[in-house]
Subunit: 302 residues, 2 copies
């Protein structure tokens, strides 16, 4: 049995926090949603957009009476956010979050809020845009949400968090936090690091102007600029929080890149063609499993 969730408090009202609020209002109209953001400009924008029933200036006030609190702040700010809400928390409140790394966040929340049930979660969804106006209610439809409860977390609290995400449109998987961090290092953190790197590299070459890079970006480069436009503070924190797994997967990437570099230098066409043929199948599987659109060129207008 899942604990009943009648009131959700969301702390951090950016892209993800505001999307959670909108999705709850759209899909669970009987659930009350209160919100808080540390930034007064974000609070004002959130009030104007109206996706929460109430937006509090004070974090502790925002969580009063909440059955579930979702922290949607950069992972480096989770401990501070937990400390800020502590005075207002009901004894029964479940604490969750939406952070992109889980082992460190889970430990930080449990340390900051002793006696509270902590059920960390990570909806694998987003866009390159930031802020409360960027959110939308269907962001989680068909996407995965990974829940990483500690082994001793009460089953009814885990079921409540799982049920909420399913109600918001997500598919839920439960896994160990350390394994989550390795999986996401591969599927999300390394891709962001590589995209950030190449976009920076391209903009600083002497031989090719930035204007040329922009003009001819349709040759492939523009694809990388989307995720390299993601929130800088959020991503800074992800790399610092998930350092070991990111560095481990980066090591593997570097080995493979060096091998392909060697194949190019030696003119080893067979090795290149073999590698490029294998990678084609992965995209087919992603489309078949509904994790990307089948439309060519991401469905861009032509």
């Amino acid at each position: 049995m899942a604990r009943a969730i009648g009131r959700v408090a969301i702390v951090g009202l950016g892209l993800i926090g505001s999307s959670v609020a909108r999705a709850i209002k759209a899909k669970l109209p009987d659930v009350a949603v209160t919100g808080h953001d540390a930034d007064p400009d974000v609070r004002a924008e959130a009030r104007a957009l109206g996706f929460c029933d109430a937006v509090s200036d004070d974090a502790a006030e925002a969580v009063e009476g909440a059955d579930l609190v979702i922290l949607a702040v950069p992972v480096g700010r989770m401990a501070d956010a937990a400390a800020a809400i502590a005075p207002g928390l009901s004894a029964h409140a479940i604490i969750s979050d939406v952070g992109s790394s889980k082992a460190g966040v889970g430990a930080a929340l449990r340390a900051a809020l002793p006696g509270h049930v902590v059920v960390p979660a990570h909806p694998v969804a987003g866009t390159e845009n930031s802020g409360p106006a960027a959110g939308f209610a269907t962001l989680f439809d068909g996407r995965w949400c990974i829940v990483t409860p500690a082994p001793d977390a009460p089953a009814d609290a885990v079921a409540a968090v799982t049920g909420l995400w399913q109600a918001l449109g997500a598919k839920v998987e439960t896994m160990d936090a350390a394994h989550h961090d390795m999986v996401l290092a591969v599927t999300s953190h390394l891709p962001h690091l590589i995209a950030y790197t190449i976009v920076g590299t391209a903009s600083e070459l002497e031989e090719v102007t930035e204007s040329e890079v922009i003009k001819y970006s349709a040759g492939g480069f523009r694809d990388f600029t989307r995720i390299a436009a993601s929130d800088p503070v959020m991503w800074r924190d992800v790399f610092l929080a998930n350092r070991d797994a990111v560095l481990a997967t980066l090591q593997r990437f570097n080995e493979d890149l060096t091998a392909l570099q060697q194949a190019i230098r030696r003119g080893d066409g067979d090795r290149l063609e073999d590698w490029f043929t294998r990678t084609r199948a992965i995209r087919r599987s992603i489309i078949e499993q509904g994790q990307d659109d089948a439309a060519p060129d991401f469905g861009r207008k032509h």
Copy 2:
């Protein structure tokens, strides 16, 4: 004054060749289009799709009477394709191509077809799909086409090729072939190499299954799978043909990646945040200049 182009022959009827044929039929209905492909299955498919006035089994026959011949084959096959068409070429025929590297291709075409005017071109457009059925008439709308004529190319022939691409919807820039190859190494070849690498890396880790990589690909990885699904033979040839420029830009990428790796290892958040903030502006410029859609997440459906 541009030479008049009344008949175009297209050799190679895949994504790009078939898109050129369709665009000519759609936008220049008075121009005759003949086609040839070395693969009999592709010829049969092209005939069924009907985007050429005639598809010849023989390359030399396909180019008879053509004012302009466009070679749309992988860059490693340009010399063979040129040799195959030589017996059928009219003396006045302009030879062009659509290859993604230009210095080597231009030299190969001039060597294979002495006495003919060669005006290499590269439309910076495409999708991850291959084959005649993947082409469409609007592929070049608003995209750049780079023309790289030799310094002694007759102005009326250069103007004819330029005019054709403009009529097909492209914006045309003329530049030196060696500079083209450096620009495209950055904006297209390096991004493809990186995407191919990371997709291969992710599919071969022991700690994370391929099934997990696919399930959680919406965290960023899926963006890379699109261009890593591009034609393996075409891309093998691009890396072999543009080896020096690719290796030079790869060297710069590796330096930057090593610096960010060091910042992660040392916990240098300021350096990460600074780098990630600068890359955001590039995407804004690309959207402002019409080289990508402004819709979040590439406009994917949510």
